[in-house]
Symmetry: D2
Subunit: 336 residues, 4 copies
């Protein structure tokens, strides 16, 4: 069985997912495309040699009977509208993050999905599909380090452009950690605090950089995440889980260890796109397999909502300098 997929939004990420489905993944085919810029949709169609129809609008595409599943990869502000429409049409939908630009938007999606009686939505958080994070999750779940008590983490970029401002450290950067720690720990956050170390001279004026975000979970696990987006030296994702009986670290990306020029070392990545490149393939294949099996198992709408609510609290904590509560109902059985 080949899943027939429609893509709403053929910008960089939409085009990339279409390419992935066409050339790399198995079990699916892109048969419908749309974009606010229809030329872009036509270009993707011809670049990939797709046997696909171009639709003037996402709603038309969703309505098409042959479409089994929809990719929502348009700009964030339109996510909610198309995800809800897909749910109402009873179609599976893979939505790039953010699920919606507001927590309320996420709630609307959750409600629509629960009302539909069926899990239809996967959110584009790719870290749970990274081989390193999977090993880390397996290690925790195996009990090898005992109960997790703390996570020390870092999310570092070599540099960011001038338009990157302080709240983006949460919404664009930390958002991945907010999702992945819930999954790693099988836990929810109860509070957030943000402190601002001395600012690096390499940061533009509108971003406090670095920042340290401290989270507490329901089970009492404490997480500190250094967000440092002008660290100069590379793109670097660190995650160390301290348990009652040991500590497990996220592996470094595979690299050649070299002895050269009085250095014993290995290259670090500098471009974030290289870090999780394999995870995108695994993520979308998992969505295709989930649709094929009528059983989505990846990050769901509730994960999207939890990330949104947590991010809002972190931004509030950035502004207040206080410990801010993160209030989220228990995960409904529907999403377990």
């Amino acid at each position: 069985m080949t899943i027939k997929i429609g893509v709403i939004g053929t910008g960089a990420i939409g085009a990339d997912h279409a390419r992935r489905i066409t050339n790399t993944l198995v079990g699916a085919e892109v048969i419908a495309l749309t974009d606010v810029n229809l030329d872009s949709a036509h270009k993707v169609k011809s670049d990939l040699g797709l046997n696909a129809e171009i639709y003037p609008d996402g709603h038309d595409l969703i309505a098409r009977s042959g479409v089994d599943a929809v990719l929502v990869t348009c700009w964030g502000a339109a996510h909610e509208e198309f995800v809800v429409a897909a749910i109402k049409a009873g179609k599976y939908v893979f939505c790039e993050k953010p699920l919606a630009t507001t927590a309320q938007g996420c709630r609307n999606i959750v409600e629509a999905e629960m009302a539909s009686g069926k899990r239809l939505v996967q959110v584009g958080f790719m870290r749970p599909y990274d081989s390193g994070y999977k090993m880390l999750k397996d290690t925790i779940d195996s009990g090898a380090i005992g109960e997790p008590l703390m996570i020390h983490a870092a999310h570092r970029n070599a540099s960011v452009p001038e338009q990157y401002i302080s709240p983006m450290a949460i919404h664009d950067t930390l958002i991945h950690e907010l999702d992945v720690f819930r999954w790693l720990l099988d836990d929810d956050y109860v509070s957030a605090q943000v402190v601002f170390p001395r600012k690096t001279k390499y940061a533009h004026s509108k971003v406090a950089d670095p920042q340290i975000v401290m989270l507490e979970t329901k089970k009492g696990t404490r997480i500190d995440v250094e967000v440092f987006v002008n660290c100069q030296y590379g793109y670097d994702i660190q995650c160390s889980v301290v348990g009652e009986e040991g500590i497990a670290n996220l592996p470094e990306p595979q690299a050649i260890v070299m002895r050269k020029n009085a250095n014993l070392g290995q290259q670090l990545l500098t471009d974030w796109k290289d870090r999780f490149i394999d995870a995108y393939d695994v993520e979308l294949q998992d969505f295709i397999d989930g649709v094929t099996n009528q059983n989505l198992t990846g990050p769901n709408s509730w994960s999207g909502l939890a990330a949104a609510v947590s991010a809002d609290a972190c931004v509030k904590a950035q502004e207040s300098g206080q410990i801010e509560a993160i209030e989220l109902p228990d995960t409904p059985d529907f999403y377990r």
Copy 2:
């Protein structure tokens, strides 16, 4: 375009490749199967839900007009016969190692292929498709360590069964190194020497274990490979390339670094099947892509011949205790 594949030999490796083509890879489909045990072919067909025909014999399968490419995964002694038959039928063929059980058999295949005027054969050496070896090759080719002068390598298994005897250290174990170093260095061997360290108490009586194989290449690069198949501690493949300006090491397999029980460490593999598991997918996808593009680029018949000739010299060196010449003509342009 979907490549139609026939599988000759549906034992463990044949069944695994059929599964791979069906569930994981793109662009190909298994439409024909045969095995000396026809029940086995039927079982693979039904297990994978294939829309495939079962043939009484490899020659019938090769003859079928719809088959674009053949997988030769039967027992080694029959490889030559079916590979030559596929070549004569003008069909692409992926042959598991060994290409043939004798150097002469390999020569016969090379001759048939050259006579056909077209590169049709890929041999199942998977290490060039391993992400670590690819990084190592890229590092060497980039000139980062200057001209390679030496390789220090090791091939270690936790243990081997009683039927594993000394020559198998060459034919079954070192064979992978014999292929991969030629590729890494873009060079050929001129001689081999084997020395026998003190034997481990864990080795059975009919195998000298460990062994050290020393190779010299045309360019003068010296290679030493420790073959140690009862090393107890794990399955471990080491490769360190010493160049004029630096040293590059094959990466360790990705693993969680853990602090536990007064140890800072990471788990080593114990089963060889886990070490190159991803490489098998990449290898066979590359064959499918090569058939699709009518341009095979993986390990070819000449590689198979070179491995066979080199292995014979190594076995001779095991027996003689002398430095034995490895005589191989220059690679024909046909195979460059």
Copy 3:
């Protein structure tokens, strides 16, 4: 010239320092001993074969004209009294930590020393004498990582006995970090906050374990220290300094990397005494050299005071759950 040393307090640490001076270090000799338990002083004298006099009391010992320098290694409550007495006698004094059991006691010592017009006191903080910390300090001072912005640190013990209660996490454990970070960063603290992660099941009832202590410095550097004294796996001191241009880590203690039992790893220490054992020698040799050259350069009374004031604020922060100010005047020129 041989420095003549008197030792006040011949318990474990005093006896060890006497041994060190006698057998390992150069330029000094123990000629006087005292202890509340005079038998203990006699035992040290005879064990080491010292040509030393036993005094009934520290004040008698200090008064002896031949004594050039005094080691105060009696119990903490008596430190202030003997250090002040030594200062008043114009004699050099090496005082084991704590310099005094209260910040006020430290202030009294500072005042006495400044009144004497001469730097006479070295406090027994040994980490600045550890080869790893020295490399880290050199790296920071070289500018290799740019200005330090953050420190992520950990102080972990395998386990602690039942009498170890929460404030000891500050006074006995964190105290070393409180001293060494001031030295590493050449900076002072302005505030402390303590948070309590989920408690490990291995901790006794009267200690919150682990704890995370967060410090801010005058220059704005943020420090987080995980204090985890029942971590089970070993004795482990971690310190990672994040600068504007790179990150430098305290080296792991030297160890054999071993491949064994499916593990690639190295042994971790389990006993804190092994971790800084070399640093004790270097520390006391530096004191002897400082006395010889009439120029002490090690941790001074002001360091002792700073540690005491900072520790008090951390304990207050443990209790309040709030961010507590650390108020310390600028370091007087006398101590620069």
Copy 4:
């Protein structure tokens, strides 16, 4: 008790040892000096502020009644003469390597020492005093890796000057490995073979570089040592011992792990003098302690002889291209 030491040869190494004895080590004092260049002896005396007499000749110095022990640090060709003279005078002697410039010279020393009935000689092989090699020896002796079967080693220098010719790869470079492996393995060599990889373009015309020396021991252990003295990247000593149950590696020198400029790495040494600098202190302190206790335990004359005999065989193997026997009687009980 303070050991009174006379130094024969006040060049770089002699002056350095005199400084060491005077400023760093305990239990000894330099009271006599001589050198073919008497000005050099006077300079060392005044630089170190020694209360020492200058003698016109080594024999006069040895004859002086107050001298307990002699350091022979003059040029190699004179070692034998002064070591034998010291033995005949019944005085302890620390002789820098080589013990003598010929195997026969070493034999003469061994005979003189055995005739004296007392172990009086320590040879300046410092690697057994290196903390890393000591850990490696302890690991082997603990049985943690089982019986040693192989050693893979390397001795690499960044570059050597034009006067460094091929045999020096043995006499000046490999000589340290020849001594340290005997000690590590508690074994003797029976044969040597040398092969010459492709020559690096960075080597001068009169040195084959790199070289690989292969040794076999009485117990059958096989050792390969890469000697690469123009490796460009640093000074690097590698030693990996493969045992029946695991592998143990010589630790890397302590270094700061840094993340900087897209590199995760640590600095390598470039100057050989930095690599074993601590070992020189420990070595000479051990000699002083041995003299004090009338019981030398360091590298002895037999070690010096064994190194000389082995080195001669390696040079012969360089020239012949053959496997050359290393013939050495069993270690006499006198030297066990």
